[in-house]
């Protein structure tokens, strides 16, 4: 009898192994990183990416893909930086409306049976436009409490690590353990059987989109807390990063197979990959290429662990 590793386990072990290997490499290159401050500096910018990755994962879990996460996070960051310090109520209302808009997108996509890629592609222009309208040139300011939260120091464990663990656990409970999570993944796995069991696929999808919007908003706020201000293009890269994070974390594009813990680890890995490269001191010409090479190597690692498929 051949050994049977549970697919969930395999899903998690690959990103975790990549992270550990990369971290070891970074420590070796730069022993100074092996400190409280060092870990914080290495990982704190991964916190918003991790949140955005969870947001993307929720969409991927229902077999859709969100190309607007980057602009949406930028938009949320702009709203946070512009309104939160002075008119917190208005800021909250706008962000809540944005989450509602996300839910609405889910609704439209389901009712009209539209390809999510196109709708979110269109929405990425809309969010980008709104962000430019709110904040035509970079600026704004992080609310004091948010800045305080994002730079909070815990004794012993750096904030970035605490935050990542909390995000991972909350997402795990939500997506893997809760009934809603089961329903969301069920829609990704076989929407027809979910609806035959008497569920409203529409509601599940709307919930998934709304949750995704919520996590994106949190990502935008976390980002502002770290950078202290926003601009309309601040998080454009999160779209691709979040997709890469989900895949790196062991998720699949279709079939509702996702792993929240893996996604967070994936986000950390991606962030760490960038640092690893700066520590290597490659010629500027090749620094961009090296990012690609690292992605390839990290993803190539999956091969070692997942030889079983074929």
């Amino acid at each position: 009898m051949r050994m049977r590793l549970s697919p969930d386990f395999i899903r998690l072990i690959i990103p975790a192994a990549s992270l550990v290997i990369l971290l070891a490499a970074v420590f070796w290159l730069q022993p100074r990183a092996m400190s409280y401050m060092g870990l914080n500096l290495l990982f704190n910018l991964a916190v918003p990416i991790a949140l955005a990755t969870i947001a993307q994962m929720l969409i991927i879990a229902v077999n859709d893909l969100d190309l607007s996460i980057g602009t949406f996070v930028s938009f949320a960051a702009c709203v946070t930086a512009v309104f939160m310090p002075t008119q917190p109520l208005l800021g909250i209302v706008i962000l809540a409306a944005a989450i509602a808009a996300y839910a609405l997108i889910g609704l439209v996509i389901h009712i009209r049976d539209l390809p999510s890629i196109v709708v979110t592609l269109g929405m990425s222009f809309v969010w980008g436009g709104l962000a430019v309208l709110i904040l035509p040139s970079p600026g704004g300011q992080a609310p004091v409490w948010l800045r305080g939260l994002m730079t909070a120091s815990f004794p012993g464990i750096p904030f970035a690590i605490v935050a990542s663990i909390v995000i991972g656990l909350v997402a795990h409970l939500l997506v893997m353990k809760s009934t809603l999570g089961v329903a969301i993944r069920g829609v990704g796995g076989n929407a027809r059987s979910v609806s035959r069991a008497g569920w409203s696929v529409l509601r599940i999808k709307v919930a998934a989109y709304a949750l995704s919007g919520l996590f994106s908003v949190l990502a935008g706020m976390a980002l502002v807390g770290l950078t202290t201000s926003a601009d309309a293009n601040i998080a454009l890269r999160y779209t691709l990063l979040s997709i890469a994070g989900v895949i790196l974390g062991g998720g699949d594009f279709v079939g509702g197979r996702v792993s929240p813990l893996g996604a967070v680890v994936g986000a950390l890995t991606l962030t760490l990959a960038g640092s690893f490269l700066s520590f290597l001191r490659i010629s500027p010409d090749w620094q961009i290429g090296a990012q690609g090479a690292v992605l390839i190597v990290v993803l190539g690692l999956r091969l070692i662990f997942s030889r079983r498929e074929a």
Partner: protein, 314 residues
């Protein structure tokens, strides 16, 4: 004595000739400085994509790497403040240039982008005293430089009300995007007397006018070699006249020397300005000669230049 100090360049974008020239200048000047034992190291870093978040991470890594000074061309004037503050707190000197940062603990070597925009209109007011229609070619929406230059242009139009902006398009500072955007609006525009630009997009605009078989207006150029070539060709053929203005990519080397001076214990004001580099009909030929084929008109700075700029600011 700064011979043991290490300086890093944090750059967020390498995707155009200007940035490439900037990196080349840095490389050239810092190599000499290291050879002359002025500093111990001067490494350049570029992010994969033009994103503030990535650059913030890059700066945080530089803190870990133990650089004594960080010279940054920032993706956003404010989004790096968190990382810059962390660097300052770690006792690192931060000098920003071109794309400056607003964090008070950092030094700024600023170009007066507003003035760069306004001066274009001023120049045009001399060429076209009776005024005329303007087409404004902008950069990337939501980016600080774009907003500043555009504000300057609009201030200029207020100052010289005989001009009227009849169209404004975003060329994203990319030649082909600019060409496409201009070609798209051109049919809807009345006679255009001049095109005001943000640098480097003039050639694309010229081609769009040519393709649409419209009369070539006065196009303000941005110091790219191909623009200057085109200008010269026009000048030789029919006495075409314009001006060209942009920030010199070599300003990175000025920032380098300023950082070195600060590390050396010099008292340096937080805000310094550099003039932009302007080319006129008179010095066109000369500038063309010194500009690399396919590159950008450039000036590199020496330690003495830096000392002069610092002294002037006092």
């Amino acid at each position: 004595d700064t011979s043991g100090k290490k300086i890093a360049l944090s750059n967020n974008y390498a995707g155009n000739s200007w940035r490439q020239a900037m990196l080349t200048s840095w490389d050239k000047v810092t190599k000499e400085a290291i050879a002359a034992n002025k500093v111990a190291a001067a490494d350049a870093f570029t992010t994969a994509e033009n994103q503030a978040t990535e650059q913030a991470a890059q700066i945080q890594n530089m803190i870990l790497q133990g650089y004594d000074a960080i010279v940054v061309n920032a993706a956003s004037p404010t989004a790096l403040n968190g990382a810059v503050k962390a660097a300052c707190d770690a006792g690192i000197v931060v000098v920003s240039f071109d794309g400056i940062v607003t964090e008070p603990c950092a030094w700024r070597i600023a170009v007066d982008f507003k003035e760069m925009g306004r001066s274009q209109i001023e120049y045009l007011s001399k060429r076209l005293p009776q005024g005329g229609n303007l087409l404004e070619l902008r950069g990337l929406a939501g980016v600080f430089v774009d907003d500043e230059i555009s504000a300057g242009i609009h201030a200029g139009v207020k100052q010289f009300p005989q001009f009227k902006i009849v169209g404004s398009v975003h060329g994203d500072w990319a030649q082909d995007v600019a060409q496409r955007a201009v070609a798209g609006v051109l049919p809807s525009l009345p006679e255009v007397a001049a095109v005001v630009t943000q640098g480097g997009d003039g050639y694309g605009a010229a081609q769009a006018f040519e393709a649409a078989k419209r009369k070539t207006p006065i196009i303000v150029m941005g110091n790219r070699e191909d623009e200057l070539q085109w200008w010269k060709k026009q000048k030789d053929a029919n006495g075409y006249e314009t001006m060209s203005v942009s920030i010199a990519p070599g300003v990175s080397t000025l920032a380098f020397w300023v950082a070195q001076q600060i590390l050396d214990g010099k008292d340096v004001k937080k805000d310094l300005t550099v003039p932009f580099l302007r080319i006129d009909q008179a010095n066109l030929d000369e500038s063309l000669k010194t500009t690399q084929k396919g590159g950008v008109a450039n000036v590199e700075y020496s330690q003495a230049d830096a000392e002069k700029v610092i002294a002037e600011a006092k």
